[in-house]
Amino acid sequence: MRLKLYRAPAMAAAMRMVRAELGPDALILSSRRVGDGVEITAGLESAGPEPHMALPIPAPAAPRTSQLSAPHVQALSFHGASPALRNKLAAGPLPFALAAALRFAPLPLAAGGKPLLLAGPPGAGKTLSIVRLATRLVMAGTMPMVITADGQRAGATEQLAAFTRLLGIDLLVASQPAALERALARRRDGAPVLIDSAGADLFDPAQRAALAELAAATGAAIALVLPAGIDPAEAAEIAAAHAELGARLAIATRLDVARRLGSVLAAAEAGLALAEAGIGPGAADGMVPMTPELLARRLMQLPLAAAPRIPEPAA
């Protein structure tokens, strides 16, 4: 293999240099930003067998199975990733493998889109996620409409109202489908609509029916809000139950306070696209879009910090 680095102010120019010198068969092995542009590493494999390849080497006897597992595979075990997912991700590098094995997608918050309904078990962080999304939209100059369908929990509305007052947006309370439809009728200029729901256990038929009704009445896209740190098997079932009701997206919360992210991986493995990550306490900066790079970094960070203490050397 011939390997060569090219630098140019822009990617297109660098690619032209690669093609001009190495021809159409050259492969781009990596690219990165450098101070004044981009740097591309290109490789070109020589055609035909190389002379030393012809040397006959007999197969050695009795190879043994290697027991090695890469750091990221160990990290995945630590987090409680399923064996199937560990296998899928084993080849690494982790960010690329995650991007290939799981789905990542932004929340649909564009003007004129479907309302977004946040669902999930009690205490998952739905209300705080609504606050963070509303804050992000307001700071970007868009006034969203916020509706809460959580009429059950004491103080739920007040908690949300305190934030919406700060943000200068109205909070509509609508627990019943009919009230929701009326509330949605007040939507102006296709403003994004965020709907908070009561924490629900979807394995309870009545609560399940209530969420299905809520989704139907609002025509909303459902995003599951699920905390890191909970049991991955439990998370997989919760995610599957929400997917059955039409959820396609997941917001992972509490990445800043949980050590194990197996529940997040399990939700993604159940088919939900990872959209957002709760990474801190702040309303404005506590949640960021989830990317394969962010997830990979978070997965690798904890086991490294938890690496076994190295004993003092013997004198």
């Binding site: 750091p71 199937a84 690494g92």
Partner: protein
């Protein structure tokens, strides 16, 4: 749901006994001998019984790095004066060493049958150890290639430099060609050494992995990334072990983590 593996603990231990881990790089000067020594030490610190075998053909220097004056070395084994087990000496780091003889070229000069004899003796001796770490020479000539093909696990060291990447790729390519369908049972994994940061190390791995995926049709896994660390040079200059002298330095932590992967 996947079925749990049916191996009993004792069976697992039997499979693991005597795993031969070869360390290669293609290019010289990327820290191969240092890495082999430090890996052997890290495994020993995990309670494993480890033999470090200096297979650095013409220019063996494991003993030099460790400041040893070996009474016996590989030359006496090849000459038939001593058995391999009797030529081994114990190092205070907690592992055994079979030293090479720098400048003798004793292994490089062996004909294929004689080399296979030495390797068969190594396989026998390996039965008494949990891991044998085989420090291979730079380059891709016949003896090195034969020895890397013999290992259960080949760790290929690469640094960020294009020359190192190209040479590491050549080693991986030959290993792939030699092992063919057998590649899964004697897999090669990549170690990025002297990485300026973890992220830069991951990029180096990705570059090499992509070349292998495109040109060889398979992607070697990452064994680990070791960050560049001035204290490595300090340990080598003082002929001592990094994990003894600077146990909490970044390179030491990285090798320890990598050793966890090898130890399984």
């Amino acid at each position: 749901m996947t079925t749990a593996p049916t191996l009993t603990p004792s069976r697992t231990a039997a499979l693991r006994a005597g795993q031969i881990v070869a360390v290669a790089s293609g290019k010289g000067g990327v820290g191969k001998t240092w890495f082999a020594i430090t890996l052997a030490h890290a495994l020993a610190r995990r309670g494993r019984h480890v033999l470090l075998f200096d297979g650095d053909l013409g220019l063996a220097n494991v003993d030099i790095q460790l400041g040893l004056l070996p009474a016996h070395d590989i030359a006496s084994v090849v000459a038939g004066q001593r058995s391999l087990a009797a030529a081994v000496q114990h190092h205070q780091g907690g592992f055994d060493i079979l030293a090479g003889r720098s400048g003798s070229g004793v292994l490089a000069a062996l004909d294929p049958a004689a080399l296979d004899g030495v390797l068969a003796a190594l396989r026998d001796a390996a039965g008494a150890y949990d891991h044998v770490v085989l420090d291979l020479g730079a380059g891709i000539e016949r003896t090195t290639r034969r020895m890397s093909g013999f290992a259960d696990l080949l760790l290929v060291l690469a640094t960020e430099e294009p020359t190192s990447l190209t040479d590491a790729y050549a080693v991986l390519k030959l290993h792939h060609a030699d092992r063919g369908a057998d590649a899964a049972s004697a897999e090669a994994r990549i170690v990025v050494n002297q990485a300026s940061t973890m992220a830069a190390g991951a990029r180096t791995y990705a570059t090499l992995a992509r070349a292998c995926a495109a040109f060889l049709g398979h992607t070697p896994k990452l064994a680990g990334i070791i960050r560049r660390d001035d204290r490595v040079r300090d340990a080598i200059r003082r002929q001592t072990l990094l994990l003894l002298r600077h146990p909490n330095t970044s390179a030491a932590v990285d090798v320890e983590l990598l050793a966890d992967g090898v130890a399984g």
